[in-house]
Structure formats: structure tokens, C-alpha cells
Symmetry: C2
DNA sequence: TAGCCATATTATGTATACAGTCAGTATCTA
DNA sequence: TAGATACTGACTGTATACATAATATGGCTA
């Protein structure tokens, strides 16, 4: 099938949103830089209306910031902002785990999580872990976190967690690929996987406080990875989102 | 100055947003009901473009839900959703209080909070509390919570708390006016005010865990008020947002 | 030479026209 | 009579034209 100039299967708004998001995350637009609608029109090839929608959505997502006099600019983040976003996500996931534990979940609901964990076990068994395995881990890890969030059976909470994880550096798998370049990589993944096992165990035994605490600590693993990666200064190309960090 | 047909000082988008929000919260649109753009154009008197923007913003706010095939409908909430939203807000405010305690705040920063608390003390001293005093309490309470959130000095967290408090039934003052009809009204306000004092004391003494715990419990006061109000079935007109609750 | 004002350009906010798609309804056939 | 199909209507997605406001630049004055 020939690739068309415009793929009609997705809306112009979505296409513009994807293109502009890539542009921002790639760092080709500096933090604080104004992004004009006409400029965005030239880049994306769609008209002003969907471009406008895309800009509004990216602001909601947290990547852009509204300028008081009108328009949008690329948002700047401090290292502190990133660490806080991670702690925030961990707190919300902790609440989800506590809800799941307190309200109880059937073994039927836990099955997909356990299957997910078994698959991760298969990945981290190899030593050293290949880059492909890291990629698979990212996908499985995202799946595990999504399933866990769903176990809370609380749509307001699920919604808020999705928003808190929208920023790439705040997402559960945000710094996994950065780990791949670290010598401690496998060790970190083993610890993370242990957290996964513990939280499922806590939920099964309806230990709300324990489930909440372990998810908070689990998120802090991402903070440790970030600091490690920044200190080593290696393979920062694996973390495109870091282009948004000022005075990093 | 004569009131013009269209006030040019605010944008058409904001005007449409305000009008549509009132329409939804007043319950004149049933939960699940589709709200078409042309219908919204007739109601608000502005053209489709700002109406569209307003609808997107209201979806982001949580009042509307996107229909997969396009357009928006009024969102429906269960009583569980409301209770979860309150617990969620309390969890985030707890995190903010913990950040404030752990990171430390100057007595200069605490002064406006203490002044706010003194003013509230003046209100709850009267017995019984007048309706006007309840209105003043709502404003002062909102101010206290905003100041407390700011103490975290974490813009990602402030942003998230603002979003979590956007829904009227999740906001810190969401059910205060409903209390005014209850015989236990004054007692509840005295307890809430004690919570306020405790959290400030905890932050001053850098007791992070205590600050976090008391803010969580403080939010649960709103949940208790909601249940009381629903049980008594009196003065539900004070809670317009309850029009969105299904099978309440 | 530095600062201010005026002007011109470019930005966004808004309205509207057009096209494509989805849904609902009515009719026809089995 | 029930189900399926075709048609009609309405709604949203998109593009563009117009007006207003903000900004930048250049010239003038102190």
C-alpha cells in the first residue's frame, strides 16, 4: 500500500499534535520559545484550526504553557520539577494500590498482572540484558502499571494518574532506557520487579498501607535512575525529554 | 457605565465556558446528554469556534466527556466517584503539606496562613453561625488551602491540585454551605479549624508524616459532610453540583 | 547616543463556509 | 411482521477570511 501524503485514518488534529509533540520533545524548540500558529501550520501542513486544537491539548498535557497575551510557548522544567512529578506519580499509584487492597480484587483480576510479571521475569533472567529486552521491559512495565491502576476501580483516580504520567519524564518507564547504559542496570530492574511482586502480594492480602508504601518507594527508583544518568552523563540521547530541563 | 450586550473585556471563549459550565452545574442538562455545538452556539450567542474551545476546556475540567464518534456529552458521576475525588484531593494536599514540612518554610511564609486562621476563628466564635459567616468561611477556607498548597513550592503539584479541585464537589469548600443547614454545623467547622491549626503546627515543626496525615483526614471531613447531607435530604439546593450524580 | 513614540507587520481571536461522516428514519422485501 | 437497506438530515472536522491587539522596528527628539 502506497503511503499517502495525508493519512485520512487519523484526524488532522491528532497528526498536528503528534508532530508538535515530537518537535518539542526532540529539543528542536528551546524551552521558553514561543511557538506561533503559522509556524506550526508550516511544520505540520494542516490548517490553523487543528493546529490550535493541538496546541491546547499539548498545554493540557503539560508540554506547553499559555502566554498571557495569547499563544503558547515551550514549557521549561527544573530538575526539581521532574523529581516532584515522579513523587507525585508514585503517590497517586500508591493510592491506587491502597484502593485495590482495601476494596479487594478477585484472583480473576490479578491473573493478567501475574502473567505480566512472569513475562518480565523471563526478560530479566538474562545477564546481561540486551537492548531489545529493555525495549520489551518498557512495554511490559507500562502494561503492569496500567493494569495496577485499573485495579483501583476508580475512574477519577485513573484519569488523574494518566495525566500525571503524560509527561515522559514522569511516566513509569521514563528512565528505563537510560538505565540500559548503566552497569547497575540489571540490579535496578531486579529491584523494580521485586517491588512489583510485593505490591501484588500486598493487594492479595488486603494490606492497604503496605501496598501504598511500596508503590511510593517504587516510583523513587525512577528518581534514583535520573540522578544516576545525570551524574554519568552517558547516553543522555536516550532521554529526549531532558531537552526541556533548564540549567540541568 | 451601561452594561453592553457583549462585554469586550473577556474573550468569547471564556464567556462561552462560563455560560456552559453554569448550564451543566445547574442540572438543566442531564448527565449523558449530548451537547451539540450549534445548541451551545444558540445558548451562548458566540460562534462555533469559541464554543468549541469552551467545550474542550470543560472536558479537560472534567465536566464533559468526549464522545468517540465526535462531540461531547455531560459527564455522569456516581457517589463513589465523588468520595474518591475527595480522597484524591486529600492525598494531594497531604503531599503538599509533607513537602512544606520537609523542605521547611520561613515564618514569613507562614504569616498569611496564621492570619487567615485568626479570621476564621473570629467567624466560628459566634454560636450559632450566621449564613453570612458561612459564606465568609468558604472564601477564607479556599484561601487557606491555596496558601497551604503554595507552601509546597512545587509547581507540578500545585497544578495537579488545582485540577483535582476543579470539580465543585471535590473542592475544599464544596460542602461547607451544605453544612450550614445541619445542626452539627458549628461542631464540624470547629474540627476543621483544628485540623488547620494542626497542619500549620506540623509544618512549623517539620513533622512531614503528621502534616500529611492530618490533611488526608481533613479532606475526609468533606466526605462525612456529603453523607450527612445526602442522608438528611435537606437543603440539597445548596449543592448544585449534585445534579451530576446518577442514582444518587 | 539613548530613549521614546509612531507606524507597520504579524500575531491571535473570531466568524463562517464547505465537506465528509455518522445516525436516525422510513420504506421495501422476505 | 421483522429485518435490512437506502436515503435524508444533522453534526462535527477543517479551512479560510476578517478584525483586533500586540510586538518589533525604525526614525525622531532630547
Amino acid at each position: 500500500m502506497a503511503e499517502r501524503e495525508t493519512d485520512r485514518s487519523v484526524s488532522q488534529t491528532v497528526r498536528a499534535q503528534l508532530a508538535l509533540r515530537d518537535l518539542v520533545l526532540s529539543g528542536r524548540l528551546r524551552p521558553g520559545e514561543r511557538i506561533s500558529e503559522l509556524q506550526a501550520v508550516e511544520i505540520t501542513g494542516v490548517s490553523r484550526t487543528p493546529v490550535r486544537m493541538a496546541l491546547v491539548r499539548l498545554e493540557e498535557e503539560g508540554l506547553l504553557e499559555a502566554i498571557p497575551s495569547g499563544g503558547f510557548m515551550v514549557k521549561a522544567f527544573s530538575e526539581r520539577d521532574i523529581l516532584d512529578s515522579i513523587e507525585l506519580r508514585g503517590t497517586l499509584e500508591g493510592l491506587a494500590a491502597r484502593f485495590a487492597a482495601e476494596r479487594g480484587v478477585s484472583s480473576r483480576d490479578l491473573e493478567p498482572l501475574k502473567q505480566c510479571l512472569d513475562e518480565i521475569d523471563g526478560l530479566v533472567r538474562q545477564d546481561p540484558i540486551s537492548v531489545e529486552a529493555f525495549s520489551s521491559y518498557v512495554a511490559l512495565n507500562a502494561r503492569f502499571h496500567a493494569l495496577l491502576t485499573e485495579l483501583s476501580r476508580s475512574s477519577p483516580l485513573v484519569r488523574q494518574i494518566d495525566r500525571a504520567s503524560a509527561l515522559p519524564f514522569a511516566s513509569p518507564s521514563g528512565f528505563v532506557m537510560a538505565q540500559s547504559a548503566l552497569p547497575e542496570a540489571r540490579q535496578i530492574l531486579l529491584i523494580a520487579q521485586d517491588h512489583h511482586r510485593v505490591v501484588v502480594d500486598a493487594i492479595e492480602n488486603r494490606e492497604g498501607a503496605r501496598a501504598e508504601a511500596i508503590m511510593r518507594e517504587h516510583a523513587r527508583l525512577a528518581a534514583r535512575n535520573l540522578r544516576l544518568a545525570l551524574r554519568n552523563r552517558t547516553r543522555l540521547d536516550l532521554l529526549p525529554a531532558l531537552a526541556l530541563v533548564t540549567s540541568g
